[in-house]
Every structure is written in C-alpha cells, then in structure tokens.
Amino acid sequence: MTLEMIIPLLAATIVAGTPILYATLGEMITEKSGVLNLGVEGIMIVGGLTAFLVAHFTGSPSLAFFAAGAAGITTASLHGIVCLVFQGNQVVSGLALTILGTGFANYFGTSYVGLSAPGFQPMAVPLLADIPAIGPIFFQHDPLVYLTYILPPCLWLFFNNTRYGLGLRAVGEFPEAAAAAGLNARGYRWLGILGGGFFMGLGGAYLSLAYTHLWTNNLTAGRGWIAVALVIFAFWRPGRAVFGAYLFGGIMALQLRLQATGTQLPSSLLLMLPYGLTVFVLVLSSLGHRRTNEPAALGVNVEPAD
C-alpha cells in the first residue's frame, strides 16, 4: 500500500466512524445514569429518516440535523416511560424500541427510497487542512465531523467536573446513595435517557445527511448494535469511545475498498468483518480483571420512593 492509498483510507475511516461515535457517546450518557438502552439502532434510524425528510422538504440540513436530535429524544422517551414510570424491564424495552424504530422508519421511508436530500458538504478547515497527511485525514470533512472532535472532551468534562455529571454517575452507581444525598435519582435517569437519545438521533442524521445524502431501507445496518458494544469496549470513557469508533470506521472503510479492488474474498464475508470484530472486541475487553468502570447499577430500575 502506498501513501496515496492510506491517506484516503484514513480519511474514510473518520467519516465512517463518526455516526458510530455519536451513537456510542449517546449510549454512554444513558448507561452512565444506570439505564441500559438497547434501542440505539431504532433511535438512530428514526433520527436518520427524520433528518432526511426535513432536509428533503425544507432544504435546510442544519434544521434537519436538530430535528433528528429531537426525534431521538422523542423515541428515547418511550424507553423512559417504560423503565422509569412503569419500572419495566430495560432489556425488553430496548429491544422493542429497536424493532419498533426500524419498522417505523422502513415503513414511512419506503416511498423515498433512492431519493436524495441536501446534506452537509465537506468544508476544509483553514490552515489545518494544509498540513501534510494530517490535513487530508482530519480537516477536510463536513462540519458534523468537526463536532465530534470537541464532543468527547466536553462529555468528559461534564462527567467528571460538573455537579450534574457527578449526580448522573452516582445515580448509575448507587441510586439509593444518591437519593440519600438528596438527589432526584429518577430525574437524573431521565436526563441520561433523553440526552443519550439526542446523540443517537444525531448519529442517524449523519448517515442520511453526510454519509449518503439519500434514503435507503435499513440505513443504519447494525451500527446501533456496534455502539452498544463499543460502550463496553470503551469502559464507559468518552476518550476510548473515539478510539473504538474509528477502529470500526476503519474496518468498514477497508471492507468497502477491498470490495472495490475486486478481491477473491466473498463480499458477504467482508461485510461480516465489523460484526466479527464486535464479538472479538467484547471478548477482549472482558478479559483480565481490571476495573471496567461499568456503572454498578446498570440495568437496575430505581424503585419509586414511598
């Protein structure tokens, strides 16, 4: 491989990793509050369709982007109603949300399959884009990519250096202790679910507004599930999530390129690669007995105070 091949590959890695990164950070926020949301896939695809439709009809990608976030919040609120209001099982509710979201998007999106919508275009960052190698890889993308450069540090600051982040983590670790300290445990879980839903929706929006500029059935293609696995891989740390998302982005980009070069390997095997890697990564991250940082109360509902 020559440098001329590697630099575009790495640039494509960033682009492919971005939607996964949005979704992973969203799921991380939710899980930090102690709620497991397996509905990422469904929320992403609803976000993707919303973004596409809004862009298609209004012609404004920015509006579409935020509409997708709002759609993510709305969809995630179903999870909140089931788990926080009715104390329902988080796993079942999340799975149902994925099935519901995928079905919903595919049904309402059918008549738009193949149509295109205005999306975000690459915008080189002045000065930085001219740095050899670094510039083409990192700084010749659309604005949504640049947003993910500042998002993880902001999230890290939020978790570790604000009282709301402290409250959110406490509720995810030991809701009774948080309640004894006078915090509203269920309020923080709502924050986790809705805030997470917002970013999951944005992840979907990236797929239809920047990654493809058009609508196809099953647009997310399992990226939501990869996000769930990546949160574990990342040990619930935003910084490691970046690394994980680009690792998967890289595999996806490589897989496309390999197909394009006409290799002997069957394409279905190549398509399997990212998901095979998911299994591999999960096994790898659970090896050893290091502190994984997993919220201790993850998946456990908060009993209503009486």
């Binding site: 009282r163 402290l166 670790e173 202790a177 948080a178 309640a179 004894a180 300290a181």
Partner: protein, 497 residues
C-alpha cells in the same frame, strides 16, 4: 436530664406494621451537646424510631418538634434540612467515586466541580474532627471504618447538627470503634447532638450521657448515665422483670444426647461447650453478638467448625453433613424467615418442597399432587392463613410464615431442632402459637433455642445457658431461681464462677 430546651423532642410516637406494634407512644428528648443512647434488643423498635426521625417513615401518631417548633418530615430531604443526619448501618456511598466526590454529592452548589478545593475542604474537615482520611482515595479501597468516616464527613459537610448512628460499631474493629468514639466525643464538644443506637452495654455506658431503653416498641426506662453504675444494672433494666408466659409445658423425660458441642472455637467463638438431649429445650440467652450466630451457623452446617467438635445425633459434623437424610434428623428454624427459611417469590407448596422432598420425588420428577395434599393437611393442622397452596411466601404475615416454616420442618420429624429468635417480630398471639408448637415438638426432639428474649427462654426452656464473649459462661436448670436472678450479670460478663 439536662434542663435546657431539647433540640429534638419526640412526643407520643406510635408506628405499627400490620399487627406488629413497632413503636408505641414513645416520648424522647434529644439535647444539644449530649449523646443519647437507645438501648434494646433486635426488634425492640430502635431502628423504626430513628427512621421516623430521619424522615424515612411516617409515624401513625405523635409529633416531632425541632427547637421547640413542630415539624413534619415527609421525606429524608426535609429531615436533612433540619440538620438531622443518619449514619446508616449499610453505608450509602458510591464505591466507584472518591471520598471527596461522595462528600460533595448532592451538596455542591456550583455547576463546576473544583477537585482540588474539594479535596482540601474535605481534608480540613476531617482534621478538625480528628479523622485521618485521604480525600482522593476511591471508596472501594477503604476499610469499613474509613467508609464510616466518609459517611460522617458527608453529614458534617452539610452542617448536620443532630447525628444518628445506627449500631455504628457492628462493622468496626475494636480499634476503629475507639477512633469513632473519640470523634463522637469531639463532635459533641462542638455542640452536636448525637443519638446512638446500640445493644452493646459497655459501649453505651462508656459513651452515653443519657440512656433510653426500648423493649417491644416502648421506652421502658429513661435515665442519665450518672445514675447507672454498672453494665449489670443496665442489663437488668434492659431485660426487665422476666414474665412467665402461658404455655402448656408438660414434663418430658430427657433421653439420649442429640447434640454435643465441645470447645468449639473460631469465628467469634471461644470454646463453647454444651449438650442437648432429646426431650428438652436448651435455651441460650445473651446480648446479641456474643457468638450466637456463628454457633448456630456451625451446628446447622452453614459454616464448618474450625476448632473443637460438634456431634449431631451421634455423628461427627463432617460425617453428619455428608449424608443426606431428610427424615428424623436436624431442622433449622432461622431468624431470617424471608430469606434463609423461605424464598419470598415461591408458593407455599414450592417452599415446602425446598427442604422436604422425601416421598415426593420419583427420579427427577416432583410429585406435586401428592405433596399438595400433604401441604393442605399441614395448612389445616397449623391454621396457616391464607389457606392456599399457591400463596406466595411474601404474601403471608410473619406469624403465618413462621408457622409454615415450623409445619414444614416438623413434618420431617426432626430429632434436633435449632430455633433462632423464633418469635422475633411476631405479635403476641402468633408468638404463643409458635411457643406451643415448639413445646409439642419437644416430645420427639431436642430443641436448641437461641433467643434474645429472656421471658421466652425462661418460659420454654428446661435448661438455660448464658452466652458471653463466645462461650457459655454458665448453664443451669430453668427453675434455679437464684441463678436466674443473676442472668443480667452473666450477660454482662460479670459473673464469677
């Protein structure tokens, strides 16, 4: 008692759970700069009373006043605002966070956390009260004593002026307890009021300024420490006058030895010696935490004996528990009815089959129909309500569940029964049922009764053993009035023999 106005006054507090009266017309004063000890056995209502004060429970009747003004604590937050803080027995700390983060959890009023300043503030606060703790340490790495210090720091940081300690030394080593007492004295000197729940006489005597004694939900005694001269006097006041209860006790000729414990040592035991014969009730009394729990756990096979020997029905401990005889052997009636004795989410039939499978299995199959007929008969004989095979264990009242446990265990016709606090938390009618059932079972079996209720022990037992410091300090017949009068001294470890 101090004459100054109390910072907290509880007046006529009553609280009942179903038919159990946990608190009955309790009136108590808490004074600034003084330590009030609440003394009483398990189930006497201490924790209920303090949960009411901390806003976790609402009293059925009665009032709380804070600095002379009546207040209603509908939730913990309200109690916290009035300066009431509780150091729970089970710590409410987030294991994955640092000491400082836990202290500031829910108590920080700026959006940004300044870790450096938080750490300095916590360190200074700890030093002020003579504690040594690293604010940057993660909770999971701390000892129990250090975790407790963090709980205290949390309250001090919130400027709590009334601190409640729920059996604070239960989880501490003696050295950590000493450090805790020093901290508590320092806090009192600085004007804090402390309520201290305990059943350890020495602690109460060495620490408290005022003592209130609770028994079966009532304050039976309230006195300044000055007027108490010894732990024995305290014990005498705590057990009160033993009342003999109405139980049909027919004499039974004791037969062969069914349990023989000799110089059993380890896990809090220091050479326990006794034997139980078929046809008698051997009652072990003592203040909780003097080795009763490890003793029972060893006899019932939950832990293995470290040193010394336990012979059950003529077999060594290891031999006995390697055989699986379901009939005519050992039955255990644990203190923890909803947990150790039954699975709360299973039906009565399933709970019956948990320990009693003989005659109801064919290969891997349970013969539920046949077992159902038997359980129905037991429900009828023992008058268990609701009389329904499919009722879940948690749906039964304490008394009915206990009767179900007894019915199940007695069905196996055991020759040795270990009953641990069999009537704790039951109302008087249910307790009488349980006593009569135990007396009936005595004809077939030897019964080891471990209880904190002296009246119960005197009523049921043929012989009494007093436990203190991991061994039986004295054993005597249940009609030896002279020795019975000395039980409080023995429980306090003051008996000379």
């Amino acid at each position: 008692m101090a004459t100054a106005e109390p910072v907290i006054r509880l007046e006529g507090i009553s609280k009942s759970f179903g038919s159990v009266q946990a608190n009955q017309d309790i009136t108590l004063d808490v004074h600034q700069g003084r330590i009030l000890a609440l003394l009483g056995e398990n189930g006497a209502g201490k924790s209920t009373l303090m949960s009411i004060l901390a806003g976790q429970l609402q009293p059925d009747s009665g009032t709380i006043s804070h600095a002379g003004k009546p207040v209603v604590f509908t939730n913990t937050e309200k109690a916290i605002q009035s300066g009431i803080g509780m150091v729970y027995q089970h710590f409410k700390l987030v294991d994955a966070m640092t000491v400082a983060e836990n202290v500031f959890l829910g108590a920080s009023d700026s959006v940004w956390l300044r870790h450096k300043e938080m750490n300095t503030e916590v360190r200074q606060l700890a030093e002020k009260y003579g504690m040594s703790i690293d604010p940057e340490a993660v909770i999971a790495d701390l000892s129990m004593g250090e975790k407790q210090q963090v709980e205290i720091l949390k309250l001090l940081h919130r400027k709590s002026s009334i601190l409640i300690f729920d059996e604070p030394t239960a989880v501490l080593t003696p050295k950590e307890s000493e450090a805790l007492f020093a901290t508590m004295r320092q806090m009192v000197e600085m004007g804090t009021a402390i309520v201290f729940i305990s059943h350890k006489l020495e602690e109460v005597l060495s620490l408290a300024d005022d003592i209130a004694i609770l028994k079966r939900g009532r304050v039976i005694d309230q006195l300044p420490k000055k007027s108490v001269h010894s732990t024995a006097e305290l014990a005498r006041r705590m057990v009160g006058r033993a009342v003999l209860l109405e139980v049909d006790k027919e004499p039974v000729e004791p037969r062969q030895i069914v349990l023989k414990v000799s110089s059993l040592t380890g896990k809090g035991l220091k050479g326990a010696d006794f034997e139980v014969r078929q046809g008698e009730v051997f009652g072990i009394v003592g203040v909780a935490g003097n080795g009763q729990k490890p003793l029972v756990e060893t006899i019932c096979g939950l832990t293995s004996p470290k040193k010394g020997s336990v012979r059950i029905l003529g077999l060594e401990w290891k031999q006995f528990f390697s055989k699986q005889n379901w009939e005519q052997t050992l039955s255990y009636i644990p203190e923890d009815r909803q947990g150790l004795a039954t699975c709360p989410g299973l039906s009565l039939l399933d709970n019956f089959l948990l320990t009693t499978r003989g005659g109801f299995v064919r290969g891997p199959w349970l013969l539920k129909k046949r077992a159902g007929a038997t359980v129905n008969k037991l429900i009828n004989d023992f008058d268990i309500r609701p009389p329904d095979l499919d009722a879940l264990a948690w749906q039964l009242s304490g008394g009915n569940l206990q009767k179900m446990v007894l019915a199940r265990e007695f069905y196996r016709r055991p020759r040795l029964i270990v009953a641990e606090q069999p009537t704790q938390g039951l109302d008087i009618a249910a307790a009488e049922d349980v006593w009569n059932l135990l007396m009936k079972a005595r004809e077939q079996a030897g019964i080891l009764l471990v209880t904190g209720d002296l009246s119960e022990a005197l009523t049921l037992s043929d012989r009494i053993g007093v436990m203190y410091g991991g061994m039986l300090v004295e054993t005597f017949a249940a009609d030896d009035q002279e020795r019975i009068d000395k039980i409080p001294e023995m429980m306090a470890g003051l008996a000379t023999n």
